[in-house]
């Protein structure tokens, strides 16, 4: 990983994204739909990796931030029907507020304790959504009156370029001095503080960035799907899928999250003939990767390239 410069990786990424832009000419709308979802999940995984891989915070609740953004946008659209970009911006803003709320315990408790706090945050949000059914649609879900567009190809391009831009920003951030300080405070907060870095400020920034992209992607996903529900955006299993994507792709690589997300969605699609057993096989494969190749796909890719 260290052998390639930031600009070179971003250029390679740009090439891949441009190549992927031509996909709508080749494949059916169904596959485009799957890829669109995979790209949004890729953003979720990248935002999670910034918190875990760099700031060292075990966040079991990525869906707390996503759900906050998605439901804020959806409810706003349902009540007042402002232009979609206003809803999406409001969703991202609400998620940032959620990120600050989540960051407060993180500055106080560490490791498994913080992990549990995030888990509790998700359960609380889920309870709130289910109990407040008149506003949120409860367990059935919330249907929004507007969608961005009904064209598969346009949706695909929006998701692709949104993912590309978010990825570039998050990746550049992780490679910047700020990213290094974050990594240092994740590994040894006391020593990083002793070197004169403001650990609290940097961690708070990591939470805000992660929350911003999670909430933005969550809100956009609502206007792609035309609905928001606990089962698709908030449930713990969704959070687990995001974590698996990030770990499979390679933690502390940011961009690996996209590979992991695409892999997960492609796998569950390829294994659909197995019926109910397909999930079992997907999770078993993820477990094998975690046990045998802990550095993930991205780690394998860059390691094989290093000797040359």
């Amino acid at each position: 990983m260290g052998s390639l410069s930031t600009t070179r990786i971003l250029l390679i990424g740009l090439g891949v994204v441009i190549a992927l832009s031509f996909l709508p000419l080749k494949v059916s709308g169904y596959i485009l739909g799957l890829m669109t979802i995979a790209y949004y999940f890729g953003v979720f995984a990248m935002a999670w990796d910034l918190l875990f891989g760099f700031a060292g915070e075990v966040n079991f609740g990525p869906t707390f931030l996503i759900g906050t953004g998605a439901y804020t946008a959806g409810i706003l659209d349902n009540l007042y029907q402002p232009p979609i970009f206003v809803c999406v911006a409001a969703g991202a803003l609400a998620a940032v507020l959620g990120g600050v709320v989540l960051a407060l315990p993180a500055l106080r408790v560490r490791g498994p304790y913080f992990g549990l706090t995030t888990l509790v945050a998700v359960l609380m949000l889920q309870n709130f959504i289910v109990v407040d059914a008149s506003l949120t649609g409860g367990e059935i879900g919330l249907t929004v009156p507007d969608v961005i567009t009904i064209s598969d190809a346009t949706n695909y391009w929006i998701a692709l370029w949104f993912m590309a831009i978010s990825g570039a920003i998050l990746f550049a951030l992780s490679r910047s001095p700020v990213g290094l300080i974050l990594q240092a405070s994740g590994q040894d907060a006391v020593q990083a503080g002793a070197l004169g870095f403001n650990v609290t400020k940097h961690k708070l920034a990591a939470f805000i960035f992660s929350a911003f992209f999670s909430g933005l992607a969550g809100a956009m996903l609502v206007f792609y799907l035309g609905s928001a529900s606990v089962g698709t955006l908030v449930d713990i299993t969704i959070g687990v899928q995001i974590i698996i994507s990030a770990v499979l792709g390679g933690r502390r690589t940011i961009l690996g999250g996209v590979l992991g997300a695409v892999f997960l969605i492609a796998m569950s699609e390829a294994l659909r003939p197995l019926g109910d057993l397909s999930n079992f096989v997907v999770f078993a494969m993820a477990l094998v990767v975690v046990l045998l190749f802990p550095s993930g796909f991205f780690g394998l890719l860059t390691r094989s390239r290093e000797p040359s």
Binding site: L123, V131, V247
Partner: protein, 291 residues
């Protein structure tokens, strides 16, 4: 009337929580592992006992024995297949092993859940209880099964206490939870201690699972909530402290029962979660935590 009802009902459920969380606290205390497949292992024990009763038509005692055996076996498989390789690998840095064990056991738990749902569907399963009938305590009609559950839980916890405090192997386990390096210096093989602790944990998971199956019944959806309740009880009590976990189990059990009776069963878990967050803010070590 409601007061006595809460007192009696809450006691049974709390005892069950206590037994479930004891093993979870024990393996964390000794080996620093938070096993997120905990709920799945319990559900596996229940489903085995249920399948033995339904498909093989064995009696309740044989069914319970099969359930405990499967819980035990599944726990040891978890240790040897997932936890041990991750603890010993050199590919992961020490400080990152925790998150890898969390992720891997979480995945393993979901795999067990999916497999059970695939073979036996998502329907709720109740194990035929060993004791039947109803008696009256303080005017509350109580199924004898509830009393049986509480008694067995406390017997198992009592045996565990004797094992840990009165036998040589148990004392090694206790010492390992206080200072692993010190125990190694005294010539105790740490890997043997780990295997012993996981074996004890397996038996506890099996017993707690089968009792849960007789008392409330489970479905493959119970996996997450069961893990979450054990996790929160152990954190509330203080990670690594078995007596803290016992106290916390009663606090959580009674809070849930009171909420379910006086407010609404829909809000059952919320006060316990709020209490957990509050305790973590005030004292992140929990009630009796050492680490």
């Amino acid at each position: 009337m409601v007061f006595w009802q809460i007192l009696v009902d809450g006691f049974a459920i709390s005892s069950l929580y206590a037994l479930g969380a004891t093993g979870f606290a024990l393996i964390f205390g000794v080996s620093g592992v938070l096993n997120l497949s905990h709920g799945a292992l319990m559900v596996a024990a229940v489903v085995a006992a249920w399948a033995a009763g339904n498909n093989l038509h064995v009696g309740p005692y044989a069914g319970a024995a099969i359930g405990i055996a499967v819980g035990f076996a599944a726990t040891l498989v978890t240790y040897f297949l997932i936890v041990k390789p991750l603890q010993q690998t050199r590919k992961i840095r020490e400080e990152e092993k925790e998150i890898f064990i969390l992720t891997a056991t979480l995945l393993w738990g979901i795999m067990i859940q999916e497999l059970i749902a695939y073979i036996y569907t998502n329907n709720a399963k109740t194990v035929a209880p060993i004791v039947n009938g109803v008696i009256s305590i303080f005017g509350v009609r109580t199924p004898q099964n509830e009393i049986f559950t509480a008694v067995v839980c406390w017997l198992a916890i009592g045996v565990l206490w004797l094992l840990v405090n009165r036998t040589r192997a148990g004392k090694a386990v206790l010492a390992a939870s206080m200072n692993p390096r010190g125990v190694t210096l005294l010539g105790v093989e740490l890997s043997h201690v780990y295997i012993a602790v996981w074996a004890i944990y397996g038996v506890l998971v099996g017993i707690a699972g089968v009792l849960l199956g007789m008392f409330l019944g489970v479905s493959s959806y119970s996996v997450g909530p069961l893990t979450a309740s054990a996790f929160s009880i152990v954190v509330l009590g203080g990670l690594g402290s078995v007596s803290g976990a016992l106290i916390a189990a009663y606090i959580v059990g009674y809070l849930e029962t009171i909420t379910a009776y006086l407010i609404s069963p829909a809000y059952r878990t919320i006060p316990a979660l709020l209490l957990l967050v509050a305790v973590m803010y005030v004292s992140p070590r929990g009630l009796l935590g050492r680490r």
